[in-house]
């Protein structure tokens, strides 16, 4: 599929040349700069201590009964935590599965909607006759430029069902009754997705605009001479390029949303409360679940177990990404 794209044609040749060049360079000076490890050591030390060690410690905690009751005298209990979370007959099982499904739905909806809105706006903005498009572009990236933490907290206030200005606007202009944005399960979920699309589409728009502007104009001219209508031009000239450039950034964006703690914790606090789940609310995603189990309920064991399950899911997503997009492949060049 990728081979049909006209500009892929020249690539294998270039790669071969590059390999040959790097080989001859290596033959010229075969020495190893041992000092390189000195330059790498600060980064390696911080990554080991602050990324790798905590992961192993988390895995360890997930096999123990470490919680507030056993803060100093915890024991190894094997897979009991995993059984509790994954066995559908266990009362704690509705901690994991419903939260996981909602996390998946939320991350998918947010990423896809933000991508579609961003792509749509990029196509509209990529119009040479629109002289003032830089202004529009600047105005539209404002939600991305505002720190996520501030905008999420501001939305929490704006969506308040009694005093919030969104309901005031809907009532004042459209005459709608107040919508229980943050107190009904359904509306809270709609609000979380809506607000995160609001915060996420500018990034997609910028990426798509960059992709659109990298398409050579003679491709469009050729398509026009060929008698292609706008849909055919969009489908066969525009989309392949945009897709090729944006796909490597789309899957990381999905896994970012998958773990986007701020998105749900700062907007709804995970609420509203869920009647058949004493710990988590209706909009809690797995990342906020791990956080709440640790800090609110002091169940470090369960928090760590949810984290480990989340690690596995993130690894799966990353594997899919490596498999189908070959992102980062130029790193080893």
């Amino acid at each position: 599929m990728a081979g049909s794209f006209p500009y892929e044609g020249g690539k294998p040749m270039a790669t071969v040349m590059e390999i040959r060049r790097s080989h001859s360079r290596q033959r010229a000076k075969r020495r190893v700069d041992w000092i390189a490890y000195g330059y790498l050591s600060p980064a390696l030390v911080t990554i080991c201590v602050l990324s790798i060690l905590p992961i192993f410690y988390t895995i360890y905690i997930s096999f123990t009964n470490f919680n507030q009751m056993h803060f100093l005298s915890y024991q190894f209990i094997g897979l009991k935590n995993y059984e509790e979370l994954l066995n559908p007959h266990d009362p704690l099982s509705n901690l994991f599965l419903p939260t996981f499904i909602w996390t998946l739905v939320y991350a998918l909806c947010t990423t896809v909607l933000a991508y579609l809105v961003g792509l749509f706006l990029a196509v509209l903005l990529n119009n040479k006759h629109m002289k003032e498009r830089t202004l529009y572009r600047t105005l539209l990236i404002v939600p991305w430029a505002v720190p996520n933490l501030i905008s999420m907290l501001a939305w929490q206030g704006l969506l308040n069902d009694q005093y919030g200005q969104i309901n005031a606007l809907l009532h004042g202009v459209f005459g709608l009754p107040p919508i229980p944005w943050l107190t009904s399960a359904l509306w809270a979920r709609v609000a979380v997705i809506m607000v995160n699309v609001w915060a996420g589409f500018p990034y997609m728009m910028i990426v798509c605009l960059g992709a659109l502007q990298s398409i050579p104009t003679d491709q469009y001219e050729a398509a026009e001479i060929d008698g292609a209508n706008w849909w055919q031009v969009f489908r066969y000239v525009t989309m392949p390029s945009v897709w090729r450039i944006s796909l490597p950034l789309l899957i990381p964006s999905f896994s970012f949303n998958f773990n986007n703690f701020n998105a749900s914790y700062l907007l709804t606090g995970g609420g509203p409360p869920n009647s058949n789940n004493p710990f988590l609310g209706e909009t809690d995603i797995l990342a906020t679940a791990a956080y709440k189990m640790t800090l609110t309920f002091n169940r470090y064991d369960l928090g760590a177990t949810i984290s480990v399950l989340l690690f596995i899911l993130v690894a799966l997503i990353s594997w899919v990404q490596m498999r189908y997009t070959g992102a980062f492949k130029e790193v080893d060049a």
Partner: protein, 301 residues
Amino acid sequence: MATSTDRISSLTSERLPASRTRRRRSMQPGERVVLWASRVVIWCIIVMVLLPMWFVVIASFNPSNSYISFSLFPANASLVNYKTLFQGGQFWAWVRNSLLVGVVVAVAQSFITAMSAFAFSKLRFYGRKYGLMTLLLLQMFPNILAIAAFYTALAKLNMIDMLGSYILVMLGTSAFNIWLLKGYMDSVPRELDEAAVIDGATTWKRFIHVTLPLSTPMMVVIFFLTLVGIFSEYMFAGTILQSPWNYTLGVGMYNLISGQFAKNWGEFAAAALLSAVPLAIVFAIAQRYLTKGLVAGSVKG
């Protein structure tokens, strides 16, 4: 699908002189309609996107917090919210804490990132080929997932509620930044570095006097992205910092609004405005360089 794509691609390879003569100066009526239709759509979307932010601006100037009815401009604007925000100096303490953590972390991270990016870009060593990819893979697991480990370890070491431990936790280097900066350093002409080697420069001199000055733009981007990232970080700050005088701006603002909306909405809006505007400007400037690098990187691949 394949046949049609091939048809268009085969046309692109031939230079058709006809396309030159058919290039128009003025717009056709159809294009004018499309242009105005897209303008109207864009205006509508801009209003939808920016209106909520305008509401926050109004709220910050609105003296009464319980003002419910809808208006586009504040009825009797005053700076009362800003005054209450500054009373007691707590807000400035939050700003100072955020700046302190942000600047320390951003300076340290930029330097650590630069050293590793230099090694990956200009030096040869065992593990160069797959080292960076391994680090990138490892960091697919965001360290927010290890919150239970961080919290219990810090609690056992009695390091909760200290700005120092927050700085320490935030010092973890981002492999993504190393990758970004390595790509930039790769574009620095090889001749300059080789000339320095021939002149007998040490590795440290090659790093400090040749590569680093030439990668200043990307260094600045990484510095500011890290700084803005600290201002946006809640999870660790909210975990570690417990007493109000130790709060960063984000934790302070979270505690202003969550659970007591009606009481503090005006104050929160003022704080949001004061902190979001400078950060948004910084981010908008840094982002221009960043997206250029991102798109260039993926086109290259």
